[in-house]
């Protein structure tokens, strides 16, 4: 029984990563209403950018993290500018957006593999050397603690931006209805561009933490994204708090699933939960009907 705390910690760490992916995904989905598959690979690209600056160029860790986040944001900007914005001008369907984003996912993955090979990389030199804390009977590393706190911080900031700033209000207006927003004079293209930058930057944070915590490989983007998407659907698409809470819940479900069955059922469990939710509570845990 003394492992219970540890399992909960494991779940929270996994959940924190999913939460970061879900936060960015939610934001972009809210404004554009399509499933952006590229989101996961942008997260991983952020991790690799940090890896490049820190491990290859020898830039200071904190600066590298910042550069990694900027790179992810920039990729978000570029993907919107070159692909999604023109598609929006043509009034393409959401399915077309989705397939195009699948294309971006594949391209980013392949480009990362070309530059960094398809092998697995870790950002920290050795995690074992990172400081460990013991709470109750569970162990948590310093990296993981920072990760956990970052999620709360980013969530807080995001809520603040959405609720208190002009930008946040225009984003909400576009999320409610892009047409009305445009009619009342909001430059929706510019706002959506911001949304892509912010959402992708948050995804970048997720990728960087994965790199520090366990390690990244170019093809991880898809599964990372899917977990984030599952979390945001369970939490109710567009609901910031709901997404984060659901991400932690997904972490718990997965890890208790592994605890009770075996490691190989992990992904199947998450998708089974997703399908059950879609069937019986499509609006999510906290969504309104």
């Amino acid at each position: 029984m003394d492992m219970l705390t540890q399992i909960i910690f494991n779940s929270l760490i996994a959940g924190a990563i999913y939460a970061l992916v879900a936060l960015g995904f939610n934001l972009i989905y809210g404004a554009t209403k399509f499933f952006n598959f590229a989101h996961g690979s942008i997260a991983i690209a952020g991790g690799y950018a940090t890896f490049y600056f820190n491990k290859i160029l020898g830039v200071d860790v904190y600066l590298s993290v910042l550069l990694g986040i900027l790179c992810a944001g920039f990729l978000g900007y570029i993907s919107n500018k070159l692909v999604f914005s023109p598609l929006r001008k043509k009034k393409s369907s959401h399915m077309i957006f989705m397939v195009a984003s699948l294309g971006i996912l594949i391209v980013i993955q392949a480009v990362i593999s070309l530059i960094f090979t398809s092998e697995f990389q870790t950002l920290s030199s050795s995690l074992a050397s990172s400081k460990k804390y013991i709470f109750l009977t569970g162990i948590i590393t310093k990296t993981q603690l920072i990760l956990f706190l970052s999620v709360l911080l980013i969530m807080g900031l995001l809520v603040l931006v959405l609720k208190k700033t002009m930008l946040g209000k225009t984003i909400s207006a576009i999320s409610d209805s892009e047409e009305i927003a445009r009619n009342i004079g909001i430059n929706s293209n510019r706002v959506i561009s911001y949304v892509f930058v912010i959402g992708s930057a948050i995804a970048g944070v997720a990728g960087i933490f994965v790199g520090f915590d366990t390690g990244i490989s170019p093809t991880m983007g898809m599964s990372l994204l899917l977990k984030g998407v599952i979390a945001s659907i369970i939490g109710g698409v567009g609901n910031v708090y709901g997404g984060v809470l659901a991400a932690f819940m997904l972490g718990l479900i997965e890890n208790f699933g592994v605890w009770n069955f075996s490691g190989e059922w992990k992904d199947a469990i998450s998708f089974a939960v997703l399908i059950l939710f879609l069937l019986f509570r499509p609006q999510g845990m906290f969504g309104k009907k």
């Binding site: 399509f34 499933f35 692909v83 023109p86 598609l87 393409s92 369907s93 959401h94 399915m95 077309i96 957006f97 989705m98 397939v99 195009a100 699948l102 294309g103 971006i104 996912l105 594949i106 391209v107 980013i108 993955q109 392949a110 480009v111 593999s113 070309l114 090979t117 898809m222 899917l226 998407v229 659907i233 075996s262 190989e264 059922w265 992904d267 199947a268 998708f271 089974a272 997703l274 399908i275 879609l278 069937l279 499509p282």
Partner: protein, 289 residues
């Protein structure tokens, strides 16, 4: 010469997969990402019955079709509750779950170790040994499936499907049982994919779960989007192009690490550019909505 025969067999198998998926995605407008699951069910059924129970290829292919039909009926009923991107996501989830079964039902499927030594089909005790004979077999299956598909598409049933795709509600108003139409085509398509699986298993003689992942589903989707939705001939062109692409790249003699990634980049860019400039695909007639 053997090489062309090999390419021919692989082409026919993927042509079957593409044509059958096009019935669902192109003609009915349901973006399914679960096709590899049915492909896998057919392959596994054939492999198990042929190797463990020594049952005739055609019988085991039939059993594979039956199993894929049942699985697709269940999955189809669940999926019928969803629309557009949720449909795509849930179907992808089902692919992951089916794949998990392939991995975890060790005693039946051999788990990750897979099933080696799958036999070639035999007619009245006469085993198909040469690849040329196998090519003929694959061709026969392909022609049958192509003709059946064309018949479906040109029948009043096919017209109803396209009507569902274009305006589901209108059709429901006229008293059509839209759900039944969707289910029937989904099941037919899955059974066709199962045939491709049977051919694949006994041709390659070895299968394992890694062949039937979502990556494969995305690949088949790429074929039909490239060729063109709602165009059976388009699917053939797409399959031809994407099956030959890796062969071309190998011939070009790029460094191996580069070649694999260049191929991925071409897939990805193809998707992006098609969505931007020709969402109907090379010879398609329908644009996703």
């Amino acid at each position: 010469m053997e090489y062309f025969i090999h390419i021919g067999i692989v082409f026919f198998i993927y042509a079957i997969l593409a044509v059958s998926l096009n019935l669902v995605v192109g003609y009915t407008g349901l973006l399914s990402l679960a096709h590899a699951a049915f492909f896998g069910i057919g392959a596994y059924a054939t492999a198990i019955l042929l190797t463990k129970y020594n049952i005739n290829f055609f019988v085991s292919a039939g059993v594979g079709m039956g199993l894929a039909g049942m699985a697709s009926l269940f999955i189809g009923i669940v999926l019928s509750k969803f629309k557009d991107d949720y449909y795509a996501l849930a179907s992808l989830g089902f692919n992951v779950i089916v794949c998990s079964f392939f991995i975890n039902l060790d005693s039946i499927t051999g788990g990750v170790i897979g099933i080696p030594g799958i036999k070639k089909p035999s007619f009245f005790g006469l085993e198909i040994h040469s690849n040329f004979a196998y090519l003929i077999l694959a061709l026969v299956f392909f022609v049958i499936i192509f003709l059946v598909s064309r018949f479906i598409v040109q029948s009043s049933f096919g017209r109803a499907l396209r009507a569902i795709r274009d305006d589901e509600n209108a059709l429901a108003v006229f008293g059509y049982k839209v759900l039944n139409f969707k289910l029937v085509i989904f099941v037919i398509s899955a059974m066709m994919a199962a045939i491709a699986g049977s051919l694949f298993a006994s041709y390659i003689t070895y299968i394992d779960p890694s062949i039937f992942t979502i990556t494969e589903s995305v690949f088949i989707l790429t074929i039909i989007i490239l060729g063109g939705l709602s165009s059976l001939r388009g699917s053939l062109l797409g399959a031809l192009f994407l099956i030959l692409l890796p062969e071309y790249l190998r011939i070009l003699g790029l460094p191996n690490d580069t070649a694999a990634q260049v191929r991925q980049i071409i897939y990805g860019l193809a998707l992006i550019f098609l969505m931007l400039y020709r969402p109907k695909g090379l010879v398609g007639e329908y644009e996703m909505k």
